[in-house]
């Protein structure tokens, strides 16, 4: 993609102490940023420190973060999926079509998940079986999946969802804790365990760091990558269910531009776009940072498009600053 120089991976003589490593870690830096934004927001607006408002704010990032978890694994393994937002559109369209002929909520959920899986499998086959570069394949399927939604819906919309379908995006489990937030937290834990506590997670890092070495150490590289594409598709399906349920309607333009926000979230969370490095806690904190910035600026009546300047500056800034710092000290 854009790796012009292979940085030599140095193996230190002595490992840093865990405390020193934590202090210098990306996650801590990001956490400081998140807390700073939180404090700045509470000082800037009297409406910020309100349980219901904060609960509303979580909807800014929960759906995107669900995809970001799977995307993080995919990017760590050295691939990327730009079609996630289009998978949302296609899954939502499939659910809408099913709902309009009278299927109930359980079937709709199954259809949403199955569409996501099918799209992920399609990407996965093209990348792993045909050996095509994932960035091109998913730019293609990005057009294709959303294109199918446009063919089906045109300028129309599906609105007639069953009333109990609204729980996924609008329901609350307990007081201000929404169903989406609980799902987000559960998925965060699940992906944390998967990436940092299982063999599978180790193989993902191994593939991202050195595909050839991974292959020679007996890792079935293609299969792992295929599973990661399936997971990303599945998560897009889950996000499609939540988003459709929250909006209560489906248009082909649903979730437009989310792929870039998801990638931004993953990169902001410290995942190397070149693969091989990153963590789930980083992505979780990045999700909060993006959600808090969006929400806080929203309370101050800053228009959404101006917030995107902040997100863009943050994306470049957080990656550029350590490099500038290193260059300056050297």
């Amino acid at each position: 993609m854009s790796d012009t120089s292979v940085t030599p991976r140095s193996i230190p003589d002595r490992l840093q102490s865990p405390a020193a490593r934590l202090l210098a870690s990306w996650e801590l830096l990001l956490l400081v940023v998140a807390v700073a934004i939180f404090i700045a927001n509470s000082l800037a607006s009297p409406y910020f420190l309100n349980a219901w408002n904060l609960s509303d704010a979580t909807f800014n990032f929960t759906e995107k973060a669900m995809i970001a978890f799977a995307m993080a694994l995919l990017i760590i393994s050295g691939e990327i999926d730009l079609s996630v937002a289009s998978i949302i559109a296609l899954a939502s369209t499939a659910m809408g079509a099913a709902a309009s002929v009278g299927f109930g909520t359980p079937t709709l959920v199954l259809i949403g998940l199955a569409t996501g899986l099918a799209c992920g499998a399609f990407n996965g086959v093209l990348v792993t079986r045909m050996g095509l570069p994932s960035i091109v394949v998913t730019i293609g399927t990005m057009s294709l999946f959303r294109g199918i939604s446009f063919i089906v819906l045109g300028d129309g919309a599906y609105r007639d969802y069953p009333s109990d379908f609204s729980y996924f995006g609008q329901g609350y489990v307990f007081w201000v804790i929404s169903f989406e937030f609980v799902l987000f937290a559960a998925l965060a834990v699940a992906y944390y365990v998967l990436l940092h506590r299982t063999n599978f997670g180790r193989t993902v890092y191994a593939i991202g760091n050195n595909v050839t070495a991974a292959q020679f150490s007996g890792i079935r590289v293609e299969r792992v990558k295929f599973i990661l594409f399936l997971l990303t598709g599945l998560m897009s399906g889950v996000a499609a269910i939540c988003l459709t349920s929250r909006l209560g309607s489906t248009r082909p333009s649903i979730g437009t531009g989310w792929e870039l926000e998801v990638v931004t979230m993953v990169v902001l969370g410290g995942v190397s776009i070149l693969g091989g490095a990153g963590s789930i806690p980083g992505v979780v904190i990045a999700a909060f940072v993006m959600g808090l910035v969006t929400f806080g600026l929203g309370l101050l009546n800053v228009p959404g498009i101006v917030m995107s300047i902040f997100i863009g500056l943050m994306l470049i800034g957080v990656i550029a600053l350590p490099r500038v710092w290193k260059a300056w000290r050297a």
Partner: protein, 330 residues
């Protein structure tokens, strides 16, 4: 024989076949004046794709071209609305300069901080879009606020073709010359083909990428003025999502996303292919909603076909020595 097998010939054949199919039912579509109209309509895509080609050749990607176009277009439109007396030549120079500066920002971040280009341009894409909102306050610049000279320029006829089409032709011709006849043109291929080897031959990888981004930015700036003047309207979201169509034109034209492979002729054909499909759909009475799915399918088919052609890597320049070693080992 190798000419017949080349991807350019394949794509050229596909375009002719497409035109023949359309002509069999709608002969009017292939009438010279209509083909000229289709070419004029495709010119902005072509010009942007030429810039993108150079960037992709150097193993980078520029996702900020559409935002660059929109920002430059807005600046030109606002300048024209405020000072209608400024001649078009000055506006044209301003557009190219402003676009080039925005490209240089991308290039510097990639060159000096070695941030992956996809991250840089993802960030600058949202930043440039946001700046449009900041300078325009979200307002539109409409046709009645623009001077007749401003909007008339791209449509002025020279030798039977509008100026917009001539810009497309000139840009393509200049790019062919630059790629095939200048050291910089060779450097783009060298950097993309093998960055390490390029360094050993005295080519700076970062500097070459910087020029690629500058070129891409300058062409995007040029398109910014042409676009706004042609449609006689400027607002925040013009050319939204166009960056992916531009990348699609390159990929369909056989530009390898891995860098170093592809020709300008391929890009021209890729852009023409997308332009013909887009203009033909309403003629053959297919809903324009099909366009997205069709270009998605075209990307996937193109990249699949290209990957088959890409097997033979490099040229064996020491065939005799190779045969000898093979003979010795056999």
């Amino acid at each position: 024989m190798s000419l017949l097998k080349s991807r350019e010939a394949l794509l050229g054949g596909a375009i002719l076949l497409l035109l023949a199919l359309i002509a069999s039912r709608f002969p009017g579509f292939v009438a010279p004046d209509n083909l000229a109209r289709v070419f004029t309509d495709t010119s902005p895509l072509l010009i942007l794709a030429l810039g993108q080609t150079v960037v992709i050749l150097t193993r980078c990607i520029d996702l900020s071209v559409a935002a660059n176009l929109a920002l430059t277009g807005m600046v030109c439109a606002m300048l024209n609305a405020a000072l209608p007396g400024v001649p078009v030549v000055v506006i044209l120079l301003l557009a190219v300069t402003l676009g080039a500066v925005m490209g240089m920002v991308n290039g510097l971040l990639v060159w000096k901080l070695s941030i992956p280009s996809i991250v840089v341009t993802l960030g600058t894409m949202t930043i440039y879009r946001g700046i449009i909102f900041l300078i325009s306050d979200g307002a539109w610049v409409n046709a009645h606020e623009m001077s007749a000279a401003f909007t008339g320029f791209p449509r002025a006829q020279i030798a039977g073709l509008p100026v917009l089409a001539w810009f497309g032709i000139l840009a393509a011709a200049a790019m062919v010359l630059m790629i095939n006849r200048t050291p910089l043109g060779r450097a783009f291929y060298a950097v993309g083909g093998n960055p390490h080897a390029a360094v050993y031959t005295g080519i700076s990888v970062g500097r070459t990428q910087f020029w690629a981004f500058t070129l891409s930015g300058a062409l995007a700036g040029l398109c910014g003025y042409l676009w706004v003047a042609r449609y006689a309207v400027a607002y925040v979201d013009i050319a939204g999502g166009f960056e992916l169509e531009v990348v699609a034109a390159c990929v369909i034209g056989g530009i390898s996303i891995a860098g170093g492979a592809g020709t300008i002729l391929g890009t021209i054909l890729g852009a023409l292919f997308l332009g013909i499909v887009k203009n033909a759909l309403p003629v053959i009475d297919i809903s324009p909603f099909w366009q997205m799915a069709i270009s998605g399918t075209a990307i996937i088919v193109a990249v699949t076909l290209n990957s088959r052609n890409a097997r033979a890597k490099g040229r064996i320049i020491l065939r005799k020595a190779q045969e000898q070693t093979e003979g010795a080992t056999a």
